[in-house]
Amino acid sequence: MKIRSTRRLRRGAAALTGVLALGLALSACSSAGGSAETGNADDIAKALDTETTITVWAWAPAVEQIAKDFEKEHPKITVNVVNAGTGNDQYVKLQNAIKAGSGAPDVAQIEYYALPQFALSDSLVDLKGFGFDSFADKYTDSTWNSVSLNNGIYALPQDSGPMALFYNKAVFDQYGIAVPTTWDEYVAAAKQLHAADPTKYITNDTGDAGFTTSMIWQAGGQPYKTEKSTDVSINLQDAGSKKFADTWSQLVEGGLVSPITSWSDEWYKGLGDGSIATLTIGAWMPGNLESGVAQASGDWRVAPMPTWEKGQAASAENGGGGDAILKQSKNKLAAAGFLQYMNEGDGTQTSIAKGGFPSTVADLNNDSFLNYESPYFGGQKINQVLVQSSKDVVKGWQYLPFQVYSNSIFNDTVGKAYANKSDLNAGLEAWQKATADYGNEQGFTVKTGN
């Protein structure tokens, strides 16, 4: 109950501040930063040798430690890490501070799905100016693609979330269910499990925008296209979107998914007692299972994400994000130095140690990482599955420049289809319409359909 009410508030917050979003995109107000927006490695080194305090907004637990290590290496820099809220809460504050013209941090954590909103509204510094475009080969294609917007680089990836199928092996064994490799097999497994024990479900889903977009991504859909930062097209009925909605509707209409909202306490409970048997989710999930569902240690395993064709190699990103430098920052060079340390330098190891799934190719292909036998997963070398997934991410995906708002109204549109156990295609069309209306109100030119 508590969780729901804050959700509603958050949606209210997004609605209120969303109005502010495009004023900036169109007027493109120039920043009054006291320092250069460009510079080479020497300039950055010089800035790091000058007494400076930078503020970093981040909720990832690793950042605190990274900042301490950084301060040790660069004693003249003070890094003030502030947890200004998780995800949407932080974006609301960031958007307000940008609108107000002051109060924004120097560096902010921004998830990939939210990045276009801030990058295309000219609120973030193009990191090409610091030569960070030369890091392209260090990151996975999908994460680098997510931070490359409008011919610029607007963040350095911090983690990634290539998707995989996490399944409760104890439950699968008990009912003699084979691990599904295609979505058709997945639907069959859902029916088999629920018939065998009506208290058990293949998964939970009450409508989750991030999951839906990731599933469409894997199915080859490209519902969102943005050109010249204000021309947007939305087609949530393209082939990929339809493929997902047709299949997933079978689960929703048949009452085969548990009506529990992800990240609630009931969800953690269901993951522990076997009533939620699988999760198709990002590769960062193991850490959350270990800390949140410790009692199910040994029950869970990881398999490749089911695909649409048998034997096909396809996956998608789910969650994950990077860190960006704000145009408001008065210490952009020092901020760039910290950013590089955090997401390209030594900080990456701290992020990985704290449970983040790497976005850096070298770490993904590291032998000890690949051969790590996770005790929680019964000694399985889970990273081999997860790393393979990061290589199979379908190319060409883009998010909307107002995805944060769009995701916040997902439950008012597609969520209704979930609640009524009806066809998700109708829900997607309603979502498309509401999203397009909002975009047009904000000054974008939104085309819908083909």
Binding site: G12, L16, W59, A84, D89, A100, G103, Q295
Partner: protein, 315 residues
């Protein structure tokens, strides 16, 4: 009815006879006013349902705060299970994250004492002035106040943020306290209450005796207004204590968070990569958060009730 509830042990014949005669009287009266009785049974049931409805979440909260994080997720929610770890949870809640809960508790107290206290004082002064003095523009003030009552604070949060940002007040305690000082509803309530609670004759008498307006207010009017003021105080205390949206917008530094926003931040840790799921502390923290409000209500409910009815009748 009250007699019937006193249990009388049937020790001797006389008392048992009395009891039986009372029983007949009771049945007779039940027959005579059958409709009446049945209706009140229904009301009692409705009352009982409402009481259960109101206390149920509190019961859940209490039961849950006696469980450890893993017990919380693996046991039946509405009954005790495992070790009784309430005190362990409380001490963890108070010390987690360098004792940030205590800090948030102090912040909330500050916002309540200064914000709600100031709002009540201003409402009392303003409401009294509007009720007892005549001046040009009073009708306009009345209209503005009534209009302000209709605007939810949530709608003003973002514009207020932009304004405060210009003044450099965001991310300071002032950004919470200043908006909390304004309570149009409180002003209106004191206004209508003061119209009747403070007789104009008394004020005139005081003036005749040479008391200044300030002295009259603090020595005479304030006492007459006490029930109304306590009502407003309770309203503003509850509003400030529960304030969520304004601090969420205004503050980015967790050091100035009130309990509401802070607890939500703890709750969201479970949604973070590598985050520490601490539902047991969120639940225990919520329990600790409502204790002061419950205490305030128990102590002030006498005034609260009389104030409420006074306001509603005399408005």
């Amino acid at each position: 009815m009250t007699q019937a509830t006193i249990s009388v042990p049937a020790a001797d014949a006389r008392s048992s006879k009395r009891a039986s005669s009372r029983a007949t009287r009771y049945t007779r009266s039940l027959k005579g006013r059958g409709v009446h009785q049945r209706r009140s049974v229904l009301l009692t049931i409705v009352m009982a349902v409402m009481v259960v409805y109101a206390l149920f979440p509190l019961f859940w909260l209490f039961v849950s705060s006696t469980k450890t994080q893993s017990e919380l997720l693996s046991s039946f929610g509405l009954w005790f299970s495992g070790d009784f770890s309430l005190f362990d949870n409380i001490s963890q809640t108070l010390t987690y994250g360098n004792g940030e809960f205590v800090r948030w508790f102090g912040n909330t107290l500050l916002y309540v004492v200064v914000g709600a206290g100031g709002a009540t004082l201003l409402a009392a002064l303003g409401g009294y002035g509007l009720a007892k003095f005549n001046f040009p523009g009073k009708k306009l003030v009345f209209a503005v106040v009534l209009g302000a009552v209709a605007i939810p604070g949530t709608a003003l949060a973002v514009p207020t943020f932009l304004m405060f940002s210009q003044l450099g007040l965001t991310n300071t305690p002032w950004s919470i306290i200043l908006p909390s000082l304004i309570s149009p509803f409180g002003l209106y309530l004191i206004w209508t209450y003061a119209l009747d609670a403070v007789p104009t004759e008394v004020l005139e008498a005081a003036r005749m005796d040479g008391a200044g307006e300030m002295r009259t207010f603090f020595t005479i009017s304030l006492r007459l207004l006490t029930p109304g003021i306590v009502t407003v105080l309770l309203f503003t205390v509850v509003a400030t204590w529960n304030n969520y949206f304004l601090p969420l917008i205004m503050l980015s530094e967790p050091t100035w968070y009130p309990l509401t926003v802070g607890l939500n931040q703890w709750n969201q840790q479970s949604q973070t990569v590598g985050g520490d799921a601490i539902y047991n502390l969120v639940v225990t923290g919520s329990l600790l958060t409502i204790v002061p409000i419950i205490v305030a209500f128990l102590f002030l409910q006498k005034y609260w009730q009389s104030g409420l009815s006074a306001g509603s009748v005399k408005a």
